[in-house]
Amino acid sequence: MTIKIDVDMTKCQHYGQCVFEAPNIFRLNNNDKLEYTAEADDSELANVEAAIDVCPMQAIFIV
């Protein structure tokens, strides 16, 4: 099973709080912009939920 992840990039301010919680999914690139993997294994669910919790803009969703 997989989960699908969506980040509302109109809200995202690239604070990178999610990167620490789910480093396999979220990263800041060399320009400090957020990049993410939109589909991941179920085993990442807890990490992605933790990332959702700490997003200051509440811009991360599981779809």
Binding site: Q17, F20, P23, A46
Partner: protein, 418 residues
């Protein structure tokens, strides 16, 4: 039927506690009591987006509710006024009494307010709640003369937002530099320089001794006698803990709620209440990552991480005590609880601040530092500072360079296994 877990405080820390209770297997009743009429919402936008746009409503800032916590009983617009920790009850302003099995105190902070001889009400603001921010929003009109008392994060961010809205903004504060206690002299001076470059005025080393005006604020009088015209006074002089409702119990509420390393409230004997916890801004805990001192930490990730730590503990204890559970699940819950509490609550504080084009990101306990070093970039542009106490790294802060700052978080702590 067993008594519910009662969470007093229906904001972020309370919500995260409820979610962790469910995630880690607690299936009993949860009651969350909050004095605001709103359910849990996100506060960082209050000094920024909420002030800028009338379109930002409660719905825009409300935290998404998860299915697992859909059956939490929310008691909103009702303030807890007393607790009896021996009798395991919480009493609300309307007289309702709630019995609990476990009590989670999550009542947070309220803004400290200034006191003046001419104690006018109209034209004075503080920002803590959504209603505070909406009330201020109506007054931040282009050309309005805004005085911000206090130069911490809230004061500086609000000043930047007001300036962007076209207000004439002056920050007045007793310190020499803004956010000085946390950032240290170099970065604080740079924040001030960049705010000034955007047109914000600073009057440092002064406080406000009195207000001018009859029915509403028309000006402020500084300690040195100088008078400044003022249409809107924003008081950003720190916070007070909402802990008075816990008075009369064997508990230390002299500065928040004093806890042990796992957020159990302490008794005067040094023992702890096994079923009373503190989370969020009011929890005064020792953090093994830094030293043995107990501190409250008013940073972004503390409500979430403390809520999870407490929710998980209570849920595991519930499984251990569950007479219907099989031996295997009870022993695995026992092992998980032992592992969690042996490690203790040891968060890496994390925060950020946006002021004009300054995007600050920081980890750690910068205020503990006796020394800081510029390690990347240049202070007038993007840069990274390391913060040391006694030669040991205790924090990092950067303007821009977030991917560099981000990498430091693992220096402080290995990611907890989930």
């Amino acid at each position: 039927m067993t008594k519910p877990v009662v969470i007093v405080g229906a904001s972020m820390a309370g919500l995260r506690t409820a979610e962790a209770l469910r995630r880690f297997g607690y299936t009993g009743a949860i009651t969350a009591i909050g004095d605001e009429s709103y359910g849990p919402y996100n506060r960082p936008p209050l000094s920024k987006e909420v002030l800028v746009s009338d379109a930002v409503t409660f719905e825009s800032v409300a935290f998404a509710q998860r299915a697992a916590t859909a059956d939490v009983t929310w008691v909103l617009g009702n303030k807890a006024v007393a607790a009896n920790l021996e009798g395991q009850t919480v009493t609300c302003a309307d007289g309702q009494v709630f019995e609990y099995s476990n009590l989670v105190t999550a009542t947070g902070l309220r803004p400290k307010r200034a006191d003046f001889a001419n104690n006018l009400n109209t034209g004075r603001h503080a920002i803590r709640s959504l209603d505070d921010a909406i009330a201020l929003r109506a007054e931040l009109k282009p050309g309005a003369r805004v005085v911000v008392l206090g130069a911490g994060f809230v004061g500086c961010e609000t000043a930047a937002t007001a300036k962007k809205l076209g207000c004439d903004v002056t920050i007045v504060a007793p310190s020499r530099l803004p956010i000085q206690r946390i950032l240290g002299d170099d970065l604080a001076a740079e924040i001030m320089r960049r705010q000034q470059a955007e047109g914000v005025n600073f009057v440092m080393g002064q406080s406000i001794s009195d207000l001018i005006g009859n029915e509403k604020v028309e000006g402020v009088v500084l300690d040195n006698g100088v008078k400044l015209p003022c249409d809107v006074l924003i008081e950003a002089i720190g916070s007070l803990c909402n802990v008075e409702w816990l008075a009369g119990n064997d508990i230390n509420i002299s500065d928040g709620v004093l806890t042990d390393a796992n957020l159990h409230a302490r008794k005067s004997t040094g023992e702890t209440w096994s079923n009373v916890f503190a989370v969020g801004d009011i929890a005064k805990f020792e953090n093994a990552l830094f030293d043995g001192e107990t501190r409250r930490v008013e940073h972004w990730n503390i409500p979430t991480e403390s809520g999870k730590h407490v929710g998980q503990q209570v849920a595991l204890q519930y499984q251990i005590d569950d007479a219907n559970a099989d031996a295997h699940s009870r022993s695995s819950a026992t092992a998980a609880l032992a592992s969690l509490t042996t490690t203790g609550f040891r968060p890496v504080p994390s925060f950020w601040s946006d002021q004009f084009d300054v995007h600050l990101l920081a980890f750690g306990m910068l205020a503990l530092a006796d020394e800081n070093r510029l390690v990347q970039g240049g202070i007038s542009g993007d840069c990274v500072f390391e913060y040391y106490r006694g030669g040991k790294l205790v924090g990092v802060a950067g303007i821009g360079m977030r991917s560099v700052v981000q990498n430091y978080r693992n220096v402080f702590a290995q990611k907890e296994s989930k």
